[in-house]
Symmetry: C2
DNA sequence: AACACCGCTTGAAACGTTTCATGTCGTTCA
DNA sequence: TGAACGACATGAAACGTTTCAAGCGGTGTT
């Protein structure tokens, strides 16, 4: 229960509090003699820095808030993990909040984090939080959007080129002989959905051969929705089914896969090929290992945090959009000869 | 950039700072008249409480640290989510740190969280952190162990009865006709592993029929290790293989499943049944839906947080161990007639 | 010899909150 | 009428840190 302050350390070392603070924060402004005495005192007393006082004085804390839309998607765990890596390199802790699409919850977290004087926010948004984020910026709290391109250049963002990803996915399907593609995903309010579909359409239109594309809409990006979509497709007569499915993300793709292969109703990839998006670790672990468009998830996290810290340090920096290219990972679910 | 303080609010409302503070913290000690004037001023100025100052004054912050061992396991996301639910009910934010088995990292987070004056710690530990946690308790920071029973009654803990879970899993396998069971898991330094195996042994010994049990050790609880273990089993001649696998958790089980069913080498469950532990959402979504021992993961999270807050509020409370019972969830991977 | 400068130390002020002893009314009761 | 009390309001003190103007020797320059 011993709460040791900088003052106690100073007394024990026979120096002033200013000197102790300098040892901690600007070691070169202090003599070696003082430094070692202070260090010894710190050891002896078990001094631990009080971040609250430091924050109060500085007006900003050593924390960053991370508001995650979809706490069920392993993709975001990797992003968070990447952010953590970079954060701990700077002695910064992460305040974590999963909203699972609950707009009220999203607001609650933003309020909470503002009170905590966070240095900035990483936001993988669901609802339209732009207004609130703008308000926060006026009050000195910067935000970086994660996994969502910020069109209006209002905020920095770190994301992947979803249009290119959609194009590459469908190009791959076409190159492996598929001619009837279905895009499975939703909701269409989400930019990820529309961008990936737009890319798919580009691939279809620029193909050398005639390719059909249809849309099978889901109301969420979840395994359950994938299963439901799969059942709907299976209800159609075999001749009327697509020969390839491009899912908006891996959760949906895994759901599709499960419904197609269960009871051996459809051979994957022989009859229907499936490709997903994100390349979460479970994609490789599926019964039929899943082809996917890999996002550099961890890098997205580290980059987002780095951008955020840079902007927090220099408020004059203009927002910048960082866009990574996705990478095609081919596995059994789209194997050409299987 | 307007940083509005309680003082500004007081001036604007024509009252003292003490009154403003009272409006915020003990509304009944203040006249309706003052209260409404203060509320109006808060609205007008856009006042946001400064948690740092509050923390400095109180000596403890409105945050709780959550140190998670295995950031790859979806099980923990649910636990975290449960903790979040309870936390936001109390206006508390969660500082999140995934260590992925890195002991150094575990230490770093504990240091960071101590500096943040967290109200307490939820710890799903890997290394032997007991000493450090004891030190923290002496300094007034309580910890609650999550997913790990604290034998020595040194700390409170919230976990599941792993022995019972192991027993129930193997009883189920025996009841569905299996006679050669392999326990697949590790490392054996982890209590989860040894407890679940111990339960499995109990089931074997108390069975009415002769049942064999063997151990296939893995070096981690990951999908990759599950795949590797599966390959090892497949290398044995068919007559020398177990007819049922009890995996230490679902990640390992999914790995086993993948290696067994890929290329149609083994029929699951006809030739070999598989059961996992945790019942993560991907268990149901596997190609052969996976039977599993369900943990009440979200409840574990909310309970752990509640226990932690109670202990933080009353330092005299003695540690208590909360143990939930796991629940058998039967799916195709152990179906009796398939 | 006078001066400027450098390296280092010092201690007070300030950050925004909560708490608490003190004060000021107005009401009730004897 | 005076005393006692209750309901609020007040403002200073304290929490632990960082910063910064000021000070102090000692060294180098002119």
């Amino acid at each position: 229960m011993a709460n040791v302050s900088i003052r106690d350390v100073a007394r024990h070392a026979g120096v002033s509090v200013g000197t102790v603070s300098n040892v901690l924060n600007r070691p070169d402004a202090v003599s070696a003699e003082s430094a070692s005495r202070v260090q010894a005192a710190i050891e002896a007393l078990g001094y631990v820095r009080n971040e609250a006082a430091r924050t109060l004085r500085a007006g900003v804390s050593a924390t960053v808030g991370f508001v995650v839309l979809d706490g069920q998607n392993p993709f975001f765990y990797d992003v968070v993990r990447g952010a953590e890596d970079e954060a701990s390199r700077h002695g910064i802790a992460i305040l974590y909040g999963a909203t699972d699409g609950d707009v009220q919850r999203e607001r609650t977290y933003l309020d909470l984090f503002e009170e905590q004087q966070v240095r900035g926010l990483l936001v993988a948004p669901y609802g339209d939080v732009n207004r609130r984020l703008e308000q926060l910026r006026e009050r000195g709290i910067r935000s970086v959007l994660v996994d969502r391109f910020s069109g209006e250049n209002a905020f920095s963002s770190v994301s992947v080129d979803n249009v290119a990803g959609g194009r590459m996915a469908v190009e791959h399907l076409v190159a492996t002989g598929r001619r009837r593609v279905a895009f499975v995903g939703g909701p269409f309010e989400m930019r990820q959905t529309t961008d990936r579909l737009a890319g798919a359409r580009v691939a279809v239109e620029s193909a050398d051969v005639p390719v059909e594309i249809e849309v099978v809409a889901t109301s969420a990006m979840s395994v359950a929705e994938g299963v439901a979509a799969g059942e709907r497709i299976l209800r159609r007569p075999p001749g009327d089914r697509p020969d390839a499915l491009f899912a908006v993300n891996d959760l949906v793709a895994l759901g599709l896969l499960q419904s197609l292969v269960s009871d051996r109703r459809v051979m994957v990839p022989e009859e229907i090929a499936i490709i997903g998006f994100d390349d979460i670790s479970f994609a490789a672990a599926a019964a039929v290992p899943l082809s996917s468009m890999r996002q550099p998830s961890r890098t997205i996290g580290t980059t987002a945090l780095r951008v955020l810290l840079e902007e927090a340090a220099d408020p004059d920096l203009v927002p910048r959009q960082t866009v990574f290219q996705p990478e095609l990972v081919v596995r059994r679910s789209t194997a050409v000869d299987a």
